[in-house]
Symmetry: C2
Subunit: 224 residues, 2 copies
């Protein structure tokens, strides 16, 4: 399955859940594509990788399709997750309700700062970083979330990998390297803003250019 398709499946899943909550039983690729914000041909091609779950002339059965995507992504089992770094962001992640409902269970919170250890966050006691390996092994954790400062990120990832974690979601603004076989995704707040800033700047430039053009037209109209 193409990586681009995998990245969109959660989007479809969310759209389907919304439709299911509204009591919609079947949906066409056109409608579903619209509510997911993608092209309908792309949606159909994406869904075709799962199998032929649609009915020509009718569309897709919402609940059935939802179940198929859930199964394909692997959300029928629940995934134990450890969050490393319980600062502002770690707190926010720990308290984020969206995980539990989507097959993820926050199994442990870890921090290197002794003043945070023992504190209760989202119903879990924060444990010390020294216990990280033990926790990962005892709880059979495969997915780690890194929300530490940038300077700690590489070390934390190394330790997670050494303890047996094979998927890492990194929020730290740092470039970390992981060995082959370990999946690393990163979410970088300032990178996202910088991309927006680039386009914003070009928009303003375009606006100015347009104004200049309009000015030229105006000049021509006046002089011509």
């Amino acid at each position: 399955m193409p990586e681009a398709t995998v990245a969109r499946l959660p989007l479809y899943l969310r759209a389907l859940t919304t439709l299911a909550e509204r009591g919609v039983a079947t949906v066409s690729s056109e409608e579903l594509a619209a509510s997911a914000g993608v092209n309908s041909a792309k949606l159909r091609k994406d869904l075709s990788y799962l199998g032929s779950y649609g009915t020509r002339g009718v569309g897709y059965e919402v609940d059935f399709l939802r179940h198929q995507i859930t199964r394909e992504i692997g959300l029928t089992q629940d995934w134990a997750v450890v969050i490393v770094g319980i600062g502002n962001l770690g707190h926010a992640l720990a308290n984020y309700g969206g995980f539990a409902s989507r097959g993820f269970r926050i199994a442990a919170l870890v921090d290197a700062d002794l003043s945070r250890v023992g504190e209760e966050v989202a119903g879990l006691k924060v444990r010390h970083a020294d216990e990280l390996e033990q926790i990962v092994q005892d709880l059979g954790i495969a997915i780690g979330v890194v929300a530490t400062p940038a300077r700690a990120a590489q070390l934390v990832c190394d330790r997670l990998v050494a303890a047996g974690v094979t998927s890492i979601l990194n929020f730290a603004p740092a470039i970390v390297q992981v060995p082959e076989g370990v999946d690393l995704r990163k979410v970088d707040l300032s990178t996202e803003l910088q991309i927006l800033a680039y386009h914003e700047q070009r928009k303003n430039g375009a606006a100015l250019a347009l104004t200049a053009e309009q000015a030229a037209e105006l000049a021509e109209a006046v002089n011509g």
Copy 2:
């Protein structure tokens, strides 16, 4: 400039900043690519869109290149940002130090919940959502960050756009539609985890298949 290149410029900028802090004056495409975690040919092609800023046989001057990228992204000016939704995530974003150092200034915090209005977060008083339009216009805000619950996201985006915001970074787990000309990027925590889960599941599947194969080999060894 290709979109894929734009998305990598912040990465290079970060790598260059790290190098500059370490006192490195010049860097080859090979070294810079390694620290940014990309292919060196790709890096060179990306940088070539900015102009011919390298010296053959030597490499790139760190400070100079850093400045060029900063200018290209539009980080020489500072961008006023409003954060809407001061829950756990909004708090974390408001307190995130990485913005100020990268040309972004959090100019206002807004929330619909009256119990949060007036609270001081990261040195700013939280203001009420009713004031949103006024704030955007008064402060000349072009970039909005949405950290509200999913159900409020579309309305908040509509109001931001109506008030003149042309770039939105959406953290709410909802699919929002914006008119042409407005840039929308989204950061979705559970989507990222779901993508990891998909690969994790496949890894386990592969591991199980291998075990089955090993079992077959073992059976053959025993029986043969």
